[in-house]
């Protein structure tokens, strides 16, 4: 498969504070990359580079051979941990909004039969994420898990080239989180999505990804913690979803993460 997303010696720093340095990697279409690392390791910053809310300080981030746009756009979908859905729109309207933006340039709002069509299309995606029961409810009436399902449907209706997930299940109960894992895996397989997911849960990363990237610093300056940035220290291919975790890998990464947290 050809390269879909390419990281070419990417660095990101804010003034003297180096967050990421020298990231180089390639991702092909359809991969599910999970990003893990200690707090402050730069995994979320990397996701922001992909999203377009931050720009690289040096190097190149290519999507389909083109430098990635420096502001968010419809080719990259996002689900945040929270605030991903619009509180003033009901479930169907939340999902249909993406179509309304596309089809009504001046008002961003559809009327009559066009609106009906958009809502029907929204219903299909809501069925895919299992929200058929709550079509006319408002987000505040939904549980945390249902809100995240809604955020997924919202993103998917735009058929993004890349789906970005920023700790999407971090605030959910363990039981619900498990359901969401199955849902995301199902959607990923069914719609051949390319997914980047930030998580602080190593097991979640192992379970969901086809690749696991660990972000960590390789160099430390004891006098200036921010002198050196993180890079990708592990790039584990996770070939089979059904194979049990390799305990050595898990241990090695766990050790590294706890060591990083201790520094």
């Amino acid at each position: 498969m050809s390269t879909f997303i390419e990281l070419d010696r990417i660095s990101k720093h804010y003034g003297d504070n180096v967050v990421l340095e020298n990231l180089s990697n390639k991702v092909t279409e359809g991969e599910f990359v999970t990003l893990v690392g200690a707090s402050g390791c730069g995994k979320s910053t990397f996701l922001k580079l992909l999203l377009g809310t931050e720009r690289v300080s040096s190097g190149q981030l290519l999507l389909d051979g083109q430098p990635i746009a420096e502001e968010p756009g419809p080719e990259r979908g996002i689900v945040f941990q929270k605030y991903s859905v619009f509180p003033h729109l009901n479930v169907r309207e939340n999902v249909a909004l993406g179509l309304e933006f596309e089809q009504s340039a001046s008002l961003g709002r559809l009327f009559g039969s066009e609106r009906k069509q958009a809502l029907e299309q929204a219903d299909e995606w809501l069925e895919a994420v299992g929200l058929t029961q709550s079509l006319n409810q408002y987000p505040h009436e939904l549980s945390g898990g249902m809100q995240q399902r809604l955020a997924l449907a919202q993103a998917l209706i735009k058929k993004p080239k890349v789906l970005l997930l920023d700790e999407p299940f971090g605030a959910l109960d363990p039981g619900i989180r498990k359901d969401m894992h199955e849902l995301v895996l199902g959607l990923w397989q069914k719609y051949h999505l390319t997914v980047f997911m930030v998580t602080h849960d190593l097991r979640e990363g192992f379970h969901l990804g086809t690749r696991l990237w660990v972000f960590d610093k390789v160099r430390h300056d004891p006098h200036a913690a921010n002198r050196f940035g993180s890079t990708i220290t592990f790039d584990l291919p996770l070939v089979s979803k059904d194979a049990p975790l390799n305990p050595d890998d898990l241990d090695a990464i766990s050790n590294q993460l706890s060591a990083a947290a201790a520094v």
């Binding site: 968010p72 945040f80 605030y83 619009f86 933006f101 340039a105 987000p139």
Partner: protein, 271 residues
């Protein structure tokens, strides 16, 4: 026995406790009035409830001997119309300027310092300027309310707009929205209930400016009447007028809250 900080009064008890202070105030007034009347039958400072009732009857339910108008209702109408005009214009300015500046950084940059400076001008200090520029008619009274209230509304709406979660704006962009569409479909609908909140908070100030303008140059209005009858020490008219103004302010506030709850139920969900 529960600790005091854990003791929640029941609904009935709460209502009763809420009414008691009002009854106490009335009682204290009655006693005070009686004491003064006992000393001097002609005392005007604390008129009896009977005198107040007579004054209300005279102002509200008998045509004025001079003009044939029902002064109380005429005053009410004039004041409410001025207030409504002033508040509406101020709210429109607050919404449009605040929303645009809050959503578009390049608009906020030149406006922000200016609005801060304007909001620091005491509106009453420029009341003479308004009278000179706009004359002594209705316009200058409405303008005083607008000038007094809109800087607050602009600043409040600007801040509320900037407080919307950044994630929502990013999300809207990933759904393909351009700036205009996002302002129209994501920001504006969420700002409207916050505008109602801001207007509710500014009502007190609006009344203050209205009464000040009416006191200085007017021929009718609730504020005008209070300051007119002050010359005759007519506390029997002033007191019911003050209560009436208070009631109008309370009713407006309540109506706005109810309206907001009906039109924007999602906004009041987690409060």
């Amino acid at each position: 026995m529960k600790k005091l900080i854990n003791f929640q009064p029941s609904r009935a008890l709460k209502t009763a406790l809420g009414i008691i202070p009002f009854l106490l105030v009335l009682l204290v007034y009655q006693v005070g009035s009686d004491i003064r009347k006992a000393e001097n039958e002609q005392d005007k400072l604390l008129p009896s409830f009977a005198e107040i009732a007579a004054a209300i009857d005279r102002m509200a339910f008998e045509p004025s001997r001079r003009t044939g108008e029902y002064l109380f209702w005429k005053d009410t109408k004039s004041s409410v119309v001025r207030l409504a005009k002033g508040i509406s214009i101020a709210a429109a300015i607050g919404l449009i300027v605040g929303l645009m500046a809050g959503s578009i950084p390049i608009i906020a940059a030149p406006l922000n310092p200016l609005i801060t400076a304007i909001s620091l001008i005491p509106p009453l200090a420029i009341l003479p300027v308004l009278f000179i520029v706009f004359g002594l008619g209705e316009l200058s009274k409405v303008m005083l309310i607008v000038i007094g209230v809109s800087p607050f509304l602009v600043r409040d709406i600007l801040q509320r707009t900037q407080e919307l979660p950044r994630e929502q704006l990013v999300k809207a962009q990933t759904l393909g929205g351009n700036s205009w569409q996002i302002i129209l479909r994501v920001i504006l609908p969420q700002i409207l209930p916050r505008l109602i909140d801001a207007v509710r908070l500014s009502l007190g100030a609006a009344w203050l400016f209205l009464i000040a303008a009416e006191a200085i140059a007017s021929t009718d209005g609730l504020g005008y009447r209070i300051f007119l009858v002050r010359r005759y020490m007519s506390m029997d008219v002033i007191l019911p007028y003050v209560v009436w103004i208070t009631f109008l302010a309370f009713a407006t506030d309540l109506c706005l809250l109810k309206l907001s709850r009906i039109v924007f139920p999602w906004y009041h969900a987690d409060k």
